[in-house]
């Protein structure tokens, strides 16, 4: 994985000292909260429901064991012994003291981490495929390109005060595991008929109160023009994006109102102009970055058989491991979704265990999934049983990847000052309901996503089943949505009808799965059945 050079480290170290001084001046009363707020947000420090919250960037979700250990130490030393992995492949801590913030950033900098670009109207932490570099279906590892874009976007003076926040995802396979088309810019590295690599640009997607799926504005940008084209996309947005209304300020609104064709025309014109300016970094820089993402030394001839005599282990293998490009290896997913647990939360002790297991079994590497689980990307099949045993003993062995128990849930009203309703208790009760009725396995792939407000951090628009918490005269109420997908078959979920109470929404989810069981045909997922039969059978079952 990428290692800081002297410039990266100097930039991050300088930022730590700058923020330490800003926090000191705030505590001494030399800065008002209005003056300090934009400064702390530029360093990932929010003021949330119970305390300050620090969001730490994990570029494209990739960590080594030393970094995971550092995150665990921060949880113990400065927080309350746990952290929350987010839908943007980051981690956040909920109980931070302002007086500790500088020390925390210094601890992060020691392991080449920071909290820059995890808030504010800038280009946020760039996300990617959590199986990058391990999966056989990619044309190339997308992470060097994500890293190049990270370096380009970090502190970019032109893009530090955009109309709104800006999110970029980079993938390199036809299977979309990063919700690429629901980003401000989604980039898919593709290969043309001549065997050349290029980047397909999808611009103007997003969730939030106005969900949109990004249209493709250019199917093939040469990779040695990647940054130039991205800069052209940003420039047109920066020039025309609305700043008078924050609810209409995201690029999706601009692309929608301007029209994709006109937006593309303007991007192409800006691109032509930028080509003359020569803003593309030298190719040698990309080559330098790429050297950090070379394959680890896989064992030649590693055994391809798995002893499945332990039935619980066999279930976990079937559910939580994913095919690897290298014979004898898999990617193993550590579920942070125990039945009745809090999606995405991990204790410091669990983080340390995951770090140690990554060191022992996965070439020192971990990935954070946007679905709030952790991946060990390169595990020998021969090591799987030992890995699973250690995970299971620590409460990390839930075999529920991509099932109805594998729920994305935002922090909701339990932690978030923007939320209107609690998300986590709904996730807990649904996972408990399905674990009790024994349907989790039989329902197959079923992606359930819960948001506690219209900002949609829980991706409810993109759930096969989505739940949106709303405030109805001071009482929590939950809308049910069906038919969303954030994969390559991206679609936006539709609301079934009137909302439900806290008890009612759990029953409602079970009801729609009963309709699915009744109506499904061979091999169909919930989403397939919904798309075939439409909303009406589900509405009839829900509302009579």
């Amino acid at each position: 994985m990428y290692k800081y050079d002297q410039y990266d480290q100097a930039m991050v170290d300088a930022r730590v000292e700058e923020f330490r001084d800003q926090a000191r001046r705030r505590l001494e009363g030399k800065l008002t909260e209005d003056q300090f707020k934009p400064l702390r947000l530029m360093n990932g420090l929010y003021l949330q429901l119970h305390a300050y919250m620090l969001r730490v960037a994990i570029p494209y979700g990739t960590l080594n064991s030393q970094q995971m250990h550092a995150l665990a130490d921060i949880a113990d030393k400065y927080d309350r012994g746990y952290g929350h992995f987010t839908t943007r492949q980051n981690i956040q801590y909920n109980w931070i003291k302002l007086e500790d913030a500088g020390d925390i950033l210094a601890d992060l900098a020691k392991v080449e981490m920071h909290a820059i670009q995890t808030s504010g109207n800038c280009i946020r932490n760039i996300s990617s495929d959590h199986f990058a570099g391990a999966t056989a279906d990619e044309v190339v590892d997308p992470r060097p390109y994500a890293e190049l874009l990270r370096q380009w976007s970090s502190f970019h003076p032109e893009f530090s005060y955009l109309p709104r926040k800006f999110k970029i995802a980079v993938i390199a396979s036809d299977t979309d595991r990063a919700a690429m088309r629901l980003h401000d810019i989604g980039i898919q590295i593709v290969e043309n008929d001549a065997g050349e690599l290029g980047a397909a640009f999808y611009v103007g997607g997003g969730m939030g109160r106005t969900p949109m799926i990004a249209p493709c504005i250019n199917p093939f940008v040469p990779l040695d023009r990647l940054v130039t084209y991205a800069e052209a996309c940003l420039r047109v947005y920066n020039r025309y994006g609305r700043r008078d209304n924050k609810y209409k300020a995201r690029i999706k609104i601009l692309v929608h109102e301007m029209g994709a064709e006109e937006y593309t025309r303007q991007v192409e014109a800006e691109y032509a102009h930028l080509l003359e300016e020569g803003v593309e970094p030298p190719f040698a820089e990309l080559e330098r970055i790429r050297t950090y993402f070379e394959d680890p030394l896989f064992e030649a001839g590693a055994g391809d058989e798995i002893d499945r005599s332990d039935p619980d282990f066999a279930v976990w293998v079937d559910r939580n491991t994913v095919a690897h490009k290298e014979t004898g290896y898999v990617s193993a997913v550590i579920s942070l979704k125990p039945v009745g647990g809090i999606p995405g939360d991990a204790t410091a002790e669990q983080m340390r265990l995951m770090a140690d297991l990554a060191k022992d079994y996965s070439f020192d590497e971990l990935r954070v999934m946007h679905t709030q689980n952790i991946v060990l990307p390169h595990v020998r099949k021969a090591d799987l049983h030992a890995l699973w045993t250690a995970l299971d003993e620590a409460g990390l062995g839930s075999p529920n990847l991509d099932t109805v128990e594998d729920i994305i849930a935002c922090p909701g009203l339990d932690y978030c000052s923007l939320a209107n309703a609690r998300s986590i208790p709904i996730a807990q009760r649904i996972s408990e309901r399905f674990a009790a009725n024994g349907k989790t396995g039989t329902l197959g792939e079923l992606k359930l996503k819960i948001s506690g407000c219209i900002n949609a951090c829980g991706h409810h628009h993109a759930g096969h089943i989505g739940i949106l918490g709303v405030d109805r005269k001071g009482v929590e109420n939950y809308q049910l949505l069906l038919g969303g997908s954030e994969a390559q078959d991206a679609s936006l979920a539709k609301i079934t009808g009137p909302g439900f109470s806290e008890d009612g929404i759990v029953d409602a989810v079970e009801t729609v799965t009963t309709v699915f069981e009744r109506e499904r045909q061979d091999g169909e997922r919930f989403l397939d059945t919904y798309r075939r039969i439409g909303m009406n059978p589900f509405k009839e079952a829900l509302y009579g």
């Binding site: 009363g29 429901l49 119970h50 305390a51 109980w95 931070i96 302002l98 809090i342 807990q428 001071g474």
Partner: protein, 98 residues
């Protein structure tokens, strides 16, 4: 009744104006109806509180209970982590929030 709340500047902890000081316990909160703006200005200027604002509340069993669920969650702590709330030993406290 109206309560004045904010966060402690150093720790971020939720605090409530008691009439003479700030407390992390909402049951200590005083009715500030009519004087909330003046107290908020004074206390924020003295850096004894961060971003204060007033909320509606009712008296329940002699103690103030914020009218909105968000403020009740703020007052107590996350409902999903009773061990981290201000009253981890009280099994009935969830009923106060919801």
């Amino acid at each position: 009744m109206r309560l004045l709340t904010g966060n402690d500047l150093k720790t971020g902890a939720v605090t409530w104006w008691t009439g003479s000081d700030w407390s992390i316990h909402v049951e200590d909160a005083a009715d500030v109806a009519g004087s909330e703006d003046e107290i908020a200005r004074r206390e924020e200027a003295a850096r004894r509180v961060n971003s204060p604002y007033a909320v509606d509340a009712e008296l329940q069993d002699g103690s103030p209970r914020p009218s909105h669920i968000k403020e009740r969650v703020r007052a107590l702590g996350p409902t999903v982590r009773p061990d981290l709330t201000l009253k981890p030993a009280d099994p009935e406290i969830g009923n106060w929030v919801i």
